[in-house]
């Protein structure tokens, strides 16, 4: 290459042409680049499009593209169009951090919507802190965290697990007296179960009436576990199972329940990670009556939900695709971010972070969610029962929106902690020692 260029440069005509081309190119770049930078605001989407989490996360990428598209049709934000930057962290936790860095420093995105598993969130946290950017995290999680750069639009334990237990203790839920806490062996179920165990004991449930089991990821031989549950449940007191079983291990679990004849009327199972999408492909007849606790169900009747489902079906060009809770979380989070940017009149992360607390945006169940000072939001809690067709029937809901609590009030280590990024400027303020830092 060098040689050829040299040969070309030796000829005078060619040299002139080359100079002209270089100048025009340089001019072109100079005129084009500031213009494009002014015209669009970049929005990063950090969801796995391959690997084990692709099943769940691809949908979230699609819903973000839809929301950005709709916002652009309304004229964008601050008079500029939004531009989606999609990367694929491939269900690989360290790769999440790399891709986050790429989005923020190379693509200069104003905000990132992404992550599903807690471990992927933990892996990108240092990057967002170091490069001072904003992450919207849309999935229900175990709590015990509040970061300045992260906004949690999914449910904290007090917005999902605790109301579900309250429902089961009520008359309509069957006045449950014994509890099986069944989960996959990793951080979310373990922390959630710790919170639940402390809560149940505070409600007067005795040690012998709580059974906690963990199984590995992708577990498929549920025979012993289900017969243990069956035995525990037939000892005279009304029993329920609180399931934090993750992903596809749920399918053989429910299959074994059905095979061994455990009916929802005898021992109901309430799940926190099972949605209509997972159930859609399976025979749900034997599962009728089992429960799920979410902040959103597709079957909820609200005009805003109906129009969301309609535009989702049009966008994805498939009438059968279901909508789910993390999709709603992105809907709320995206609208909050748009409002905050308009309030701050800038996409500068510091100004947007300061503007976000207090912002209100509609949720899909007909209410209005609010971003709190601890970077969590207010949400209603719904309990749904599985119907014969795999959809959920809402059988109970909280009267008001429940504010998300970053630090559980039922764990000894965290009940004195408070997160407040407005007054205290701290994610873990200790109300006893009056100090920030746990």
């Amino acid at each position: 290459m060098h040689k050829q260029l040299g040969a070309v440069a030796q000829r005078p005509h060619a040299r002139r042409w080359l100079a002209a081309a270089a100048v025009s190119l340089a001019l072109g770049f100079a005129s084009a680049s500031p213009a494009t930078a002014q015209e669009t605001i970049k929005v990063g989407i950090l969801h796995s499009l391959s690997g084990t989490m692709a099943i769940s996360e691809t949908t979230l990428k699609d819903v973000m593209l839809m929301l950005i598209d709709e916002q652009n049709k309304k004229g964008g934000v601050l008079g500029k169009k939004l531009e989606a930057v999609v990367v694929d962290p491939a269900s690989n936790w360290p790769l999440f951090a790399e891709k986050a860095r790429e989005l923020i420093s190379k693509d200069k995105v104003a905000v990132v919507f992404g992550c599903w598993t807690s471990v992927s969130r933990k892996s990108v946290l240092p990057v967002f802190k170091e490069l001072d950017s904003i992450l919207f995290y849309p999935v229900q999680y175990e709590g015990e965290e509040s970061e300045r750069n992260v906004f949690y639009t999914g449910a904290a334990p007090n917005q999902q697990a605790i109301p579900a237990v309250d429902y089961l203790m009520s008359k309509d839920g069957g006045e449950v007296k014994r509890w099986v806490l069944e989960g996959t062996d990793y951080v979310y179920p373990r922390t959630t179960n710790k919170v639940l165990e402390a809560y149940l004991k505070q409600k007067g449930v005795k040690d012998e009436d709580i059974m906690i089991n963990y199984t590995p990821f992708g577990f498929s031989d549920w025979q012993t576990e289900v017969s243990k549950i069956k035995k525990f449940g037939s000892e005279g007191k009304k029993t329920a199972v609180v399931s934090t079983i993750n992903g596809d291990a749920n399918v053989p679990f429910y299959k074994e329940l059905a095979n061994q004849g455990v009916k929802a009327t005898d021992i109901p199972v309430v799940a926190f990670s099972v949605g209509a999408e997972e159930l859609a492909k399976h025979d749900t007849k034997p599962l009728v009556g089992h429960l799920a606790a979410w902040n959103y169900f597709q079957s909820i009747k609200a005009p805003v939900n109906a129009s969301f489902i309609k535009s989702w079906h049009e966008f994805i060009k498939n009438q059968k695709r279901t909508t789910n809770d993390p999709m709603e979380a992105h809907f709320i989070g995206f609208n909050m971010w748009v409002k905050a940017v308009e309030k701050a009149k800038s996409t500068d992360p510091d100004k947007v972070i300061a503007a976000l607390p207090g912002i209100e945006a509609p949720n899909l169940t007909g209410g209005t969610s609010k971003m709190l000072a601890n970077h969590h939001i207010t949400k209603p809690v719904y309990i749904g029962e599985i119907r014969g067709d795999g959809q959920f029937d809402v059988v109970w809901k909280t009267k008001d929106l429940v504010p998300g609590d970053a630090w559980s009030d039922y764990l000894p280590g965290s009940k004195d902690l408070e997160a407040d990024w407005v007054e205290l400027k701290c994610g873990n303020y200790n109300t006893v020692t009056k100090r920030c830092g746990g």
Partner: protein, 537 residues
């Protein structure tokens, strides 16, 4: 005479009027009760269920059944309730006459929750105790046993006196015992008789009944209950051990099925085949494709889909196995490290290929009806899918053993693996035999995939979950020995299932791994080491 006649007629008329009046009054209250279904509130529906059940109307049972099956429809505007028959016809719930004119446009299904389902079951229980169908009477008795509702006692006693079917009669006696033990005003003798009935039933429910006895019962009753519950507990503990052994056999059969193909490729040929799990996965996907084809073209033959899938899975996985052997592995014999890496790469390629073809989401493989459900054998529950898998595994094992022992191909396989040069000198085409042996091992892995598709998720990652377990079984059992694989699989399965109730699923698995490591330290060649000239140094 005439006067008597006249008086008789008058009496009959009067009686008829009375009956009519009573019926009208009843029908009235039945209709009133229906109003509770039109408010879309769970507590109103609950009251309506109880009100309908107490009217004793013959319409109550079909109405409650419709409610339980979500076939009860209401119109909030017109305050009317309808029953949708199983054929989709709309009936007026108050009269069960078909609806002739256009129904209201705001029809909605009456929603129920678990509490209501229990209420409906209890109510239906006392209403259907006299049903003509024995199975329904049995279900009714079970429902009464569960609800222990003292209000059902008169109906139960009447049904019990008329019952002829021994199975239903026993269930009714148990239901009666449950009510008697639960009530405070039953006589001492009655209660002691009831304890005997519960002792006879002898399961966890009976135990719960005896242990939940009210505290204020007479001394005699208390003693009898304690003795009975102790004996039930002893029985249950024994059955529990049997149940664990059964689960162990079931887990062992799954391990054996996954490992048996590897026992040939790794055990007999000495090839470390990391793509073995993907052969299993291919078998499972073959099952999925077969089921899709059958579902679309011959829905009536769905129950036979597995029978069709078994030979196809064998052929698909076997063909892929032969292809792999011819293109990759044959150049790597005697170089275990390269084989390991090459087959590991192959496993990733196969996974990605399947992901690209079928998509990343799990595929649903249906259970044929003969593989769903369970039956009770004494005190243990046996699920059909596990039972069939155990039988299937043993058949596959026996067939493979017979093939190796009695066929020409089996003889040549054994000859080549024991002494390659001598076999070649005798005129056996060793390269062909290598390919066929590898194909056989892969094909059997494919068959395993058919069985595993029934109990596990069919996803591109299916094989990864079994590869470690398969190597564990083969190494533990003794490399090169099929019987060792059999004993190894069942030993590990049973040990795992006896540990699981105490240690939990995660710890049990860790404990098994540690035990194997210790065992291999002591006996590096596994339980049944091959002896003699065949063993390479």
């Amino acid at each position: 005479m005439r006067a008597v006649c006249g008086r008789l007629i008058a009496l009959t008329l009067l009686f008829g009027l009375l009956v009519l009046g009573a019926a009208a009054a009843r029908a009235g209250s039945f209709e009133d009760a229906l109003a509770g279904f039109t408010t879309d509130s769970f507590s109103d529906t609950a009251e309506a269920v109880e009100a309908v059940a107490t009217t004793g109307s013959p319409l109550a049972a079909p109405l409650l059944e419709a409610l339980r099956e979500s076939r009860l429809i209401f119109s909030a505007k017109d305050k009317k309730v309808f029953i949708k028959t199983r054929d989709g016809e709309l009936l007026d719930a108050a009269t069960t006459n078909p609806v002739s004119d256009a129904p209201p446009d705001d029809l909605e299904t009456v929603r129920i929750n678990n509490r209501l389902r229990n209420l409906i079951d209890a109510a239906l229980g006392s209403l259907t105790l006299m049903a003509p169908d024995a199975n329904r009477r049995f279900d009714a008795a079970q429902a009464v046993f569960k609800s222990r509702d003292a209000g059902s006692l008169p109906a139960l006693d009447k049904a019990l006196a008329a019952e002829t079917n021994p199975r239903v009669k026993k269930a009714m006696q148990e239901a009666r015992a449950a009510i008697v033990l639960n009530s405070s005003d039953a006589s001492e003798a009655d209660k002691i008789a009831a304890i005997a009935v519960a002792r006879e039933r002898g399961d966890q429910d009976a135990l719960a009944l005896l242990q939940g006895l009210p505290a204020n019962v007479p001394m005699e009753v208390h003693k009898a209950a304690r003795a009975a519950s102790e004996r039930i507990q002893n029985d249950l503990a024994r059955w529990n051990a049997v149940q664990n052994a059964w689960y162990g056999l079931s887990l062992g059969s799954v391990l054996l099925l996954a490992a048996i193909g590897l026992a040939i490729t790794f055990g007999v040929m000495g090839v470390i085949n990391m793509a073995h799990g993907e052969m299993v996965m291919l078998g499972a996907y073959t099952t999925f494709v077969v089921q899709e084809v059958i579902r679309q073209n011959y829905p009536g033959l769905f129950d036979l889909s597995l029978a069709a899938a078994i030979p196809l899975a064998f052929l698909v996985s076997g063909a892929v196995g032969i292809l792999i052997e011819r293109t990759v592995i044959q150049f790597l014999y005697g170089r275990p490290l390269e084989t390991l890496l090459a087959t590991w790469g192959l496993s990733l390629i196969l996974q990605q290929a399947v992901r690209a073809t079928f998509g990343p989401t799990n595929k649903e493989v249906g259970n044929p009806s003969w593989m769903s459900g369970a039956f009770d054998l004494g005190g243990i529950t046996i699920t059909y899918n596990r039972l069939w898998i155990i039988c299937f595994t043993l058949v596959v094992f026996a067939a493979l053993l017979a093939m190796l022992r009695f066929t020409r191909l089996g003889l040549e396989m054994r000859a080549v693996t024991q002494n390659r040069t001598m076999a070649a000198a005798m005129g056996i085409r060793t390269a062909r035999i290598d390919a066929l042996t590898f194909g056989l091992g892969s094909g059997i892995a494919g068959i395993a995939g058919v069985a595993l598709s029934q109990i596990d998720n069919v996803s591109p990652n299916l094989g990864q979950g079994y590869i470690i377990d398969s190597f564990m079984v083969v190494v533990f059992g003794g490399v090169g020995n099929l019987w060792g694989t059999l004993v190894g699989a069942f030993t590990l399965g049973i040990a795992n299932k006896f540990l699981e109730p105490y240690a939990g699923a995660v710890l049990a698995k860790i404990a098994i791994l540690v035990l194997i490591i210790l065992f291999i330290q002591k006996r590096p060649r596994g339980m049944f080491a091959l002896k003699g000239r065949a063993v390479e140094a």
